[in-house]
């Protein structure tokens, strides 16, 4: 049972500070006046005990509040107590009258009961608390400037309690923290490279193009979440969210589409991720809490290459290493009369499973919350991160680790042998690093001039300065690759993002059953990116690598871009009898990237919910039975220059700088328009079993299609954007959860998540289909579908019956969807022997396809056993040990047809399109909590908490159809929304072992 009471925290979440002050004054007055009331016999006594209904255990530190039923809803009068160690509480002088008793405890449902106190009488209550396994009584974000209890939310919001999740596990980054825990949000790192890119696929992906990524707010700061740096490693770039520290995160709320995120404006069309970092868990006067967590772990190769992955599989396996990592997190939190605080330092040092891949991250955070007077609350969040990441060469790269080993067949098989293109010293010699210094800061001011009027002003800033360096050392001979006497590339990028949010909310005093509020707000967003790079070659020595030591200037580049967005919104919320909920809103949106001929854009939203359980329309065992429906509109902004006309830039040439066309814009361009409708059902039975189900439909029109002009026009520096396309998507999300059993010292919880999401391109507005590698954007197919000229059989000479080539389809056909439409996870949490907790998470995906481009090139370089054998069986390669099949025989025809499907020169050779279905045991974690043991041994609580845990991530594939090592990777990194599902020498995700110790004092 949790030991730390959090009365202050809870009150801070749910009761305005002004009310808290009044509560204290009220309590004081009650105590002062107690003797006179007792004399007059106008008061009664209430005693009670708080227990866990499942285990019967006492619940010390539970918060018990009596709310005067006569007081106004917007400014209720309350008296409160904290339950003692044995769970008991007592109110010795309660003025006669009607009250609502409200008992709260973290992780438990809110208990409420109406009580009438008569003068001179004594009452006794036993409060039986139910666990809140799904967080129904927690406040969640349901839209811009809107929060609700999750049980009352009109939209589907995925929530992750990061504190709870991390009690049992250790995570490198946000993707690991969230993977498999947020239904409707599929999270995948583009490779197993530490510090590499992370992709979020939210529902069906909303728009036709654009980044397809959600907007992320951390403590109100709209942070950068793209990849940093150009592609220097063959496929992967540095992730800008690699430096968001999971240990600092308290909760994550994910709004999954315009139905919820409409009022965030155009940038919120792919959903909004609202991350809240930790704050004080200590109440005023209880001193400070220090928490130290140390983690030691090891990254290891998850999937060994075997013979079917290439003849030289042992050579490929030899490049992997065990990459150790350590993390130290120290946090301090507390509160005094003026403010509460949370401060943390986190250091993580990690090596990947390949050489030249490492992460060294230091984070400093201070969060403050202060109330200078009873009408004003100020919250500040500051985070400074110093991050150094090194990435290895891989993917489409002749200097890649995997390229030089996995690709080439041994010379005995007619291949060029490992390291055929570059010696291993050359492969190891290239270093690519990114040093980032990042400041995330926000200040929020809440002002309550009247009890029912509040204002919020917040400003958030994300300032990132990063320096990317790539060095080909001069002592190694890279001249065959164009790097004579070494090369150094250095790039400095400065990104500044600032968002300013202003809003005012008025709560209308109507009746106790009917409440309504009006919110008017504005959002401003400023973004700028300044990037400058320089490349030089011909260094005198590998020991001197400053850029001026390079004798040969290769090139320099500088870009500056900036953009602004603004929006005004109005929200009207209604609630009746705590059972009917309705929210209406509109937003007028402005952006610098829309064409100068385009006015602002208008987005409406509406959502409603009915709690049948509150209307006594469902059996009493249903503590939640809610229907909800929501509709919203949003959009996808054009590119920052899309609204401009013809732009020219200066390019270098042998004749000096010359003017060439750089960009072809469209002054009439406007945002893509996206609407989403969702309908859902949330129910919970006996506070133990629950179901969330949501069906959604997304429709995008005016989608921005970049028209690729014909080469003969010359207008090909960029494609011309036009609002002509459309795409629709739909799917469902289901969560089934339950507390299987709960008895003293034992508890088993289960959670099953399943989602289906797909989309179909409905129109390209006359534009030609877009083909990028094997992926395509074509009407009638899912975005990024594999769509090319398929080869499913061979051609044979009609006379000689000899194989003559691949039978290539004359038209393109659909060869699979790189984005798996079915995703799901199943998790179990077992508490046993009082202090042990075991967590197991399994996740899966079905219905997707991956293009095994690695195998294509293995076939070319004689490293594919099956392809080599077919070559011999068909008589193309002589091997005395193998007798070629006779042309015309059934076995010859079969071999020929198979050979054709593996023709490495044909992009549509169907043998390389494989199912990406898998079921993976993703996480196992075991924790032992010494806290109760310590509290017995150390009654003075010199040590407040102590626990140890150990775990494993990417434990094993229970099922995997892909013949390569990892079906989740993408050789084009995480930022591309079209080139998806491609594996070309891409590093597999690592298996991670770790153990942690957490100490609180």
């Amino acid at each position: 049972m949790p030991q730390v009471g959090s009365f202050f925290r809870y009150v801070n979440l749910t009761i305005p500070m002004k009310s808290l002050r009044k509560f204290s004054v009220f309590s004081l007055l009650t105590l002062l006046l107690l003797p006179s009331f007792a004399f007059a016999q106008t008061t009664g006594i209430l005693r009670g005990k708080v227990i866990d209904v499942g285990t019967g255990e006492d619940m010390p530190s539970a918060t018990v509040v009596l709310i005067d039923a006569k007081s106004p809803v917007s400014d209720p009068k309350k008296i409160g107590r904290i339950a003692k160690k044995d769970g008991t509480f007592e109110f010795l002088a309660v003025e006669a009258g009607d009250y609502t008793m409200r008992v709260t405890y973290i992780g438990y449902k809110i208990f409420t009961k109406k009580i009438s106190i008569e003068a001179g009488k004594e009452y006794s209550e036993t409060v039986k608390m139910n666990t809140d396994i799904q967080g129904l009584d927690e406040v969640v974000v349901v839209g811009e400037a809107e929060t609700r209890f999750k049980s009352d939310a009109e939209v589907s919001v995925s929530t992750v309690n990061a504190v709870k999740v991390q009690e049992n596990s250790s995570y490198q980054d946000l993707s690991q923290l969230l993977a498999g825990k947020a239904v409707g949000v599929h999270i995948s790192p583009a490779s197993g490279t530490v510090g590499g890119g992370i992709r979020f696929d939210v529902r069906s992906g909303a728009g036709l193009f654009g980044s397809g990524q959600p907007v992320i707010y951390v403590d109100g700061i709209r942070i950068s979440n793209g990849e940093i740096g150009s592609d220097l490693t063959g496929g992967q770039s540095f992730s800008s969210i690699a430096d968001i520290i999971p240990e600092d995160i308290e909760s994550v709320n994910i709004l999954k589409g315009p139905a919820a995120s409409a009022l965030y404006g155009t940038s919120g069309s792919n959903g909004v991720m609202v991350i809240k970092t930790r704050h004080s868990i200590s109440e005023e006067g209880n001193g400070a809490n220090f928490v130290y967590k140390a983690t030691q772990g090891w990254n290891t190769q998850a999937e060994k290459y075997i013979a079917s992955n290439g003849l030289n599989f042992s050579e490929a396996n030899s490049i992997f290493r065990v990459g150790p990592f350590t993390e130290h997190s120290l946090s301090l939190n507390g509160a005094n009369a003026l403010f509460s605080y949370y401060a943390s330092f986190d250091h993580r040092n990690e090596d990947g499973i390949l050489m030249n891949n490492s992460l060294d991250r230091n984070s400093f955070r201070v969060n403050l919350s202060a109330s200078p007077n009873e009408d004003v609350t100020i919250n500040a969040s500051t985070n400074f991160i110093v991050d150094n990441i090194a990435l290895p060469q891989n993917d489409n790269n002749i200097l890649g680790f995997l390229g030089e080993t996995v690709l080439f067949g041994p010379t005995s098989a007619g291949g060029p042998g490992a390291y055929a293109l570059a010696d291993s010293t050359l492969v190891r010699g290239v270093t690519t690093t990114n040093a980032t210094q990042r400041f995330l800061g926000s200040i929020e001011a809440l002002y309550h001039p009247l009890s029912n009027l509040s204002f919020r002003a917040a400003i958030g800033y994300d300032g990132t300065s990063s320096r990317i360096d790539q060095t080909f050392p001069a002592n190694l001979d890279y001249s065959g690759f164009g790097y004579v006497n070494g090369q150094r590339y250095t790039e400095n990028q400065t990104i500044a993002r600032m968002n300013i949010d202003l809003s005012g909310t008025y709560n209308w005093e109507t009746s106790k059953d009917f409440t309504t509020s009006t919110t008017f707000g504005s959002q401003l967003f400023i973004f700028s990116n300044h990037d400058i790079s320089i490349t030089k070659q011909d260094f005198p020595t590998q020991f001197v690598t400053n850029i001026d030591a390079g004798a040969k200037f290769i090139g320099a580049k500088e870009t500056f871009s900036n953009a602004r967005e603004a929006g005004l919104y109005l929200i009207q919320d209604f609630s009746y009898e705590s059972a009917y909920f309705l929210s209406l809103g509109v937003r007028n949106d402005y952006a610098s990237s829309v064409g100068i001929n385009t006015p602002s854009v208008f987005y409406p939203k509406a959502s409603g919910a009915i709690r049948l359980d509150k209307l006594d329309l469902t059996p009493a065992d249903f503590n939640l039975f809610k229907f909800r429906v929501a509709y919203g509109q949003s959009g996808v902004l054009p590119g920052s220059l899309d609204g401009s006309g013809l732009l020219w830039s200066a390019v270098p040439s042998g004749a000096g700088r010359g003017a060439v066309i750089n960009f072809i814009g469209n002054p009439d361009i406007k945002p893509e328009h996206i609407s989403e409708f969702e309908i859902g059902l949330d129910l919970e039975y006996k506070n133990a079993y629950g179901l969330n189900f949501t069906y959604f439909m997304q429709n995008a029109n005016n989608s921005i299609v970049n028209f690729e002009n014909a080469p003969s026009t010359g207008l090909t520096a960029s494609a011309t954007p036009r609002n002509v396309g459309s795409i629709k998507g739909s799917g469902f999300e289901g969560v089934l959860y339950g507390n299987i059993f709960r008895i003293k010292d034992y508890q088993l919880d289960a959670n099953l998540m399943m989602s289906y999401a797909t989309n179909t391109v409905t129109s390209l507005g006359g534009a030609a289909p877009i083909f990028v590698n094997q992926n395509a954007v074509v009407e009638g197919l899912p975005r990024a579908a594999f769509y090319t000229f398929a080869v499913r059989s061979a051609l044979f000479d009609p006379t000689t019956k000899v194989y003559t080539g691949s039978n290539i389809d004359t038209s393109r056909s659909f060869l699979g969807n790189p984005i798996a439409p079915w995703n799901g996870s199943f998790s179990l949490t077992l508490k046993f022997l009082q202090n042990f907790t075991l967590t197991v998470l399994t996740d899966w995906q079905f219905g997707g396809t991956i293009y095994n481009n690695t195998r294509v090139y293995q076939a070319i370089f004689s490293n594919d056993a099956e392809y080599n054998l077919l070559n011999k069986q068909l008589g193309f390669v002589t091997d005395t040990a193998i007798t070629p099949f006779k042309p015309g025989s059934a076995e010859y025809i079969a071999a020929g047809n198979k050979f054709a499907t593996l023709d490495p020169n044909q992009p549509g050779a169907t043998g390389y399109y494989e199912s990406s279905d898998f079921i993976r045991l993703r996480e196992i974690g075991l924790r032992y909590d010494f806290t109760s043991l310590i509290s017995d041994l150390l009654p003075n609580r010199q040590i407040k908490s102590l626990s140890i845990n150990a775990g494993c991530r990417n434990v094993l594939f229970i099922m995997k159809k892909y013949s390569g090592p990892d079906p989740e990777v993408n050789s084009f990194g995480s930022s591309s929304s079209i080139t998806r599902g491609q594996d070309f020498l891409t590093l597999q995700n690592a298996r991670v072992f770790y153990a942690s110790l957490t100490l609180g004092f």
Partner: protein, 417 residues
């Protein structure tokens, strides 16, 4: 309706009305200010530093910048086309025994079987399209500018016309709609066969001559001579060549730098070896070691014992690629003379060229020996693909003799459907 009533009843009859009305006035004022401010706010961004709007270039002092743009795009397009063209011819060979030969599409080009979705060919096609546009746009831009400096105007017009003609020459020489049907499209036009495209080139280059310096005019005449030669108009070729480049004239080169690298160098040279040379170039050197002055070749690493050779004509990333030389002008005259039966004149021309390289003189020449002489003289300049076709000596029994117009043009250009 109930909600409506309740809101207003509250406003009108509750206590604290004055305070709340004041709040509403403030609320309304905020909305009004915000609506007006938002549009101004988003339009208040700083302009990008790396681009300029088109109309800003319509001034005299921007002319050199725009002219250089045409030249830079010419260098890029010619660099790619000459290399890919020679890959399609019998000059370059894609040989996987060269360790860095990994681009399988290059193998298809070498085998005369390129795909119409070939990205390398599309890159070259895009570059040529831009080059043509920049040259043509320069001519029309001059009409919008009032010049004080006539030499600057002449430079702009010569560049626009001359290179507009060169762009058309490149279309006619390197691209084709079908395997043996050369030509191209101009700005979404119907397909223009090579012969007609050459005529367009002649028209443009002829129009440039009045604006050129004497040296530029000679280069223009050499180009006209080359085009007439390709068209089989030997008499015209001879007469144009007579007005063409002289031995004191500098070559017209495509120029490169470390920032804008020679395509040969990064494709088949010191930068990286995707293609090696046909073995005959080594044999030329065995026959006459002095040929190394115009056939600079070097051994490149091989996975087997077979010795592979790669060009060293462009040893640096900034090495220039000759586009027009006085030697070629003489070769044109020699060929035209030979085809007219005047091998004596042809011999004089050929020996002029050979002497300039320190080679021994020939005692006789024929049209066949001129073919070989051109192979050596125009080594690695993209001439071989044209010569193989017009001499009727294509080295493969079938397949593409031009780089195919790519799918991108075929899709976007309704005339090609």
């Amino acid at each position: 309706m109930r909600v409506y009533f309740m809101l207003h009843s509250h406003l009108d009859f509750k206590k604290g009305n004055i305070m709340k009305k004041r709040n509403f006035i403030l609320f309304g004022f905020l909305i009004a200010i915000s609506v007006v401010g938002c549009k101004d706010f988003v339009q208040g961004i700083d302009p990008p530093i790396n681009v300029v709007q088109d109309n800003f270039l319509n001034t005299e002092n921007q002319t050199k910048f725009v002219v250089n743009g045409v030249l830079s795009q010419f260098y890029d397009a010619y660099g790619q086309l000459s290399c890919l063209g020679d890959a399609l011819s019998d000059e370059l060979v894609f040989d996987k025994r060269a360790p860095n030969a990994t681009y399988t599409n290059y193998q298809l080009i070498d085998q005369g079987n390129p795909e119409i979705i070939d990205v390398s060919i599309e890159d070259a096609e895009l570059s040529l399209g831009r080059f043509r546009l920049y040259a043509d746009t320069l001519v029309s831009r001059v009409g919008k500018i009032v010049y004080n400096d006539s030499s600057l105007r002449n430079l702009a017009l010569f560049t626009g016309y001359f290179y507009g003609g060169i762009a058309r020459y490149l279309y006619a020489s390197y691209f084709g709609l079908q395997e043996t049907k050369g030509g191209g499209c101009i700005d979404l036009s119907a397909f223009i066969p090579s012969d007609a495209m050459y005529d367009l080139a002649i028209g443009k280059i002829t129009a440039s001559i009045p604006y050129g310096t004497p040296e530029q005019q000679r280069i223009a005449h050499t180009m006209l001579a080359r085009i007439h030669l390709i068209k089989g108009e030997y008499s015209s070729a001879q007469s144009e060549a007579a007005l063409g480049m002289i031995s004191s004239d500098a070559d017209l080169d495509a120029q490169f730098s470390s920032e804008a690298q020679n395509f040969w160098w990064i494709t088949t040279g010191a930068g990286r070896v995707q293609f090696v040379l046909d073995q005959r170039f080594h044999n030329y050197l065995l026959e006459d070691p002095k040929e190394s002055s115009r056939l600079p070749i070097v051994v490149t690493p091989s996975d087997t014992s077979v010795v592979l050779y790669v060009q060293n004509k462009y040893p640096q990333d900034a090495s220039p690629i000759p586009f027009a030389t006085w030697q070629e002008n003489e070769l044109i005259q020699a060929e035209a003379a030979s085809r007219g039966g005047d091998n004596a004149t042809a011999l004089i021309m050929v020996n002029d060229i050979r002497t300039s390289h320190g080679l021994d003189v020939r005692t006789a020449t024929t049209i066949d020996s001129i073919y070989i002489e051109r192979d050596k003289e125009l080594f690695c300049t993209g001439a071989r693909i044209i010569d193989e076709r017009r001499f009727g000596k294509w080295h493969l029994p079938s397949g593409w003799q031009y780089l195919p117009i790519t799918q991108r043009e075929r899709t976007a250009n309704s005339h090609l459907h």
